[in-house]
Amino acid sequence: MVEKVTMKEKEEAKKIPLDAKLLSDAIIELNISRRSVGLYPGDHPIVKESLRKAFSCFESLFELSHNITLGIAKNTLVVGDFLLDARNPVFKEFAESLHLKGIAAVAFYSGLSMEDLQGFHELLVAKDSFTGPEIIRLAESKGIKSIKLIPLDISKFHFAKDSLRKEGSDCALWESYVSGLIDGTLADSDAEGVILSVRQEDIASFLNNRMAGDIDETSYDRVITSYLKKRENGGIRAESFSKFLSLIDNLSPELKQQFIKRAFGRPAVEAGEAESLLKEITSCDMERLEAILHENSSLIPESLSNLLDKLRHAKTDESFFDRLFANRGAIDDIEIDENMIRLFQDDQFNNYVNKSYQDELQLMMQPPKISKASLAEEIEEHYREELIGKTISEIVLELLEGDFIAREDYQCLLERILAMTEQFLEAGRFYEISEIYSTISSHSHAGKFNDDASGVLADFFHSENFLSGLIEALKLWGRSEREGALRLAKMNKCHLMGRLLDALSEETDSSIRKFLLYVLSSFGDEIFPEVIKRLNDPRWYVVRNMMYLIREAGGIKYVTYVRRFARDKDEKICFEALKTLVHFKTSDSLSYIKFHLNGDDPELRSRVISLVGTYRCEDAVPYLLQLLEKKDIFGSGSGDKVSIIRALGKIGDPRAVSVLTKIYHSSAILFKAELDQLRVEIFKNTENYPRDSVNHLLEIGLRSRNYEIRAISERLLGERETAYVS
């Protein structure tokens, strides 16, 4: 068994790169120094010694590679494509210590100093609970430059909504993250590698210090290559090139020459590649390059100088625009002002706009803080079928109104909009249908293709199929989409009226009936001929509804047709007729009131009393008072009396006050409770009387033994007092 493991390890060792041993030693030493701090003081020789050993291992490693990146996959260390032996407790412990600090990778760079390694060690053993980005900031504040800590950044994980994890794929997630990080292929990380994320001034200063004297030329190449790393299928990136120019700017003159000679003189920079690169770079970089090459012309091959010259001229002649027309220009189909473009270019922006103005501009341009979640919600909301349908119908209507629409397009669009209308009808989208209907109606009167539009109105909108569908939709959705329903019904009233009246007479649901009456009553004068016709219907409720419509639709001219029902035997018809006459204040309405107040039908009388109150018929007050003063020996009329007091209260005629006072003062041996109730009712209904007329009654009320009467009197007198003072 032991032998087998050893064999396996041997096989693994073959796969691991040559520097693995050195790296393992470095990690072991770093872990020793980390652990020793718990046992000995920080400056103990054991700690120093292990750090020195680790440093020496790294120095040897840098001869093989100019940087070494350690990935930390929770308790496993990853180098390149290799996982360091996860069973090794030292690796495991070291990895965990970094993981707990929220570090996902550590990169050590050639030029590593003992001070930086010491600083790194201090970060690892610090008792503060700094993690992730905090520890990175701490490293920066300690001035650690040759070791880069990369935090574990959960925000880099992409959320796949409504997806489920496939069996066994969860381990791959972490591994992908770490290998992506190390390979530089993790989305969000710098494409050209870590060196490009370090300030060029820092690298230049480092090179100025370290590369003086006789240096192997391949050292220059390493630095140059790390900048001018080619893309897999293309040339050098303009941005990397720009950074490389910044680096050169900051180098000492001697180093600058060496770099320029190696970078521009080497055969790797082929003419084609140079041309495509130079085409990509910004004008600013072009100027920088020209200046550099001018200063060092002896070092540059003639072919490159010529190429540069050619491209410089080409760039100067270029215009921003694809198209020019009148005094303006456009890029593709986007109309844009050239000054605007120039202004926002890097090399111009600072000339036009000073720093404080830029800050102000920045502040002004701050968008309202809208979270990603709300934006996503807004997009999802606008993707809802209803909103999409509305938008599309609006666009089709815009297209139908277009000046240059051809007849066949018009017909096609009509077909589309009619299909949408059917869908809208099913969902009770009356507003959208009304927009469509009104547009097509207007086209039928004065449109380019009025025949087509008229045809659609006749064959579709006025068809039995559509109208019956509309009535069903009105019954179903009309109450919740009131405004749109009313608008559409009114637009189509001529074709809808008869069908709606039929629907009304057959409807059993009172709330739907009420809504249909509301729609019909909005139709105005045009409805009356049909209504008058239906007054002869044998069904009482149809007659009653027709009188309702005459009243609510303002049909005063048709009141003659109503009059004949004012003494109808059917109490419901009779009352509806009386209500209509009272509503229109006809001269004969008072005589009908008097007739029914003195009639034998107690139910009708009670409804008439309420009606008089509701319409505040002052002329009917004497008749009400007569009824009120009528002796009620058996107490059976107390209900009527309460109704009369309420009706009088609504009218507020001062003629009633003396009768009310008299009732208040009256006494009863029988029906005492009813009298008390009547007294309370009197006070409850005094608000509409003129102030002066009821003051006396209220003052009497103040002395009442009934709490409710006293409270009402106090309140009303108080209110009246306040109103008087103010």
Binding site: S319, I370, A373
Partner: protein, 369 residues
Amino acid sequence: MSHEIVSAFISHMTTAMSSYSLYSGMHPMFDEFSGKALQLVDELYHDDAFSLLTFNNSLIFNNVPLAAKGMHVSSFLKTLKKKKIEKVVFRKGLEVDEFKKFITGMASRETVSSSPHLSVGIVEVKLKAPDSDVRSLMGDGISKFESVCQEISKFKTLDIIGLDDAVLSFISTLKKESDVLRIISPVKSRSDYTYVHAGNVSVLTMFQAESLGLGGELLHDIGLAGLLHDVGKMFVASSVLEKQTRLSEDEWTEIKKHPVYGAMYLSKLPDVPPLTVIAAFEHHMRFDGRGYPETRRWRKKQHIVSQMVAIADVFDALRTERPYRKALDVRATSRLLKERAGTEFNPALVDNFLSSLGHVTGKPHYCQG
């Protein structure tokens, strides 16, 4: 944000789950604990949302590992694992019914699905694909689109399957490579521009949608809307479109008709998603109601997807280097977008676009002035 509140929230939520599996949704305990959990959500929102993510057997609240590891947290982690869910996002406006549906889904054998204010899903790591892969996928999509466009005429219907394939290629590209600037293709020739630009706008529009967490059919339709935004140009005379000398005012007016031509063409086709018609018509309208085409009565406000397409359209047009015109660099283009946010563009969408661009490219300066 106090981790105690998160722990309490998880504790109430898991108790409600247990109550549901032990008794039923009618039991008072279920109501009580789901109510208690719901009462805490307002304190957990940051930027109108909060998330719980399971990673390496730890629970991460709003991208910060949760220190507390009690019985309830472990139980919640186990349930998430059982349900194969790795991330739950709660958004402001979460309703009692939505929350209870989530709890019952977690506590039963039912599948837990997203609702308007609560999203569930997994997390993925996006790696940068080699340039060659990205270019080839993107190229595939553009070629498919080009061959569909060759067939376009007033009298022929659109090969919607071919277009779907093109969008799927773009979606695959976006999945492989999140740095959208590495995806969008360069233009090699004048004739190439139409197709490459359409593909780029599709990708840039989907990139915006994806950065907001949108996916599925909506993402696909948005991609298609981006791809077909300029389809109306197929009906503008090529002599005008390709004219290299100065355009007359009439010729420019003719070019400006392409949104109408596009919408007209698409609206007559039965199978295209409505979003394509909307974006084709509105992508030159502006956030402030100006722009073209001028509308008569109905469309005064751009649809939000058209606003996304407009940003992608301008961004790609300005940053595209063409044989006869130099491109604006990304920084200048971003400044221009930002300056026009609020008038030409929806400021919230510009903000999202630039910050997402900065985020994926690791160059946050894109979104700075």
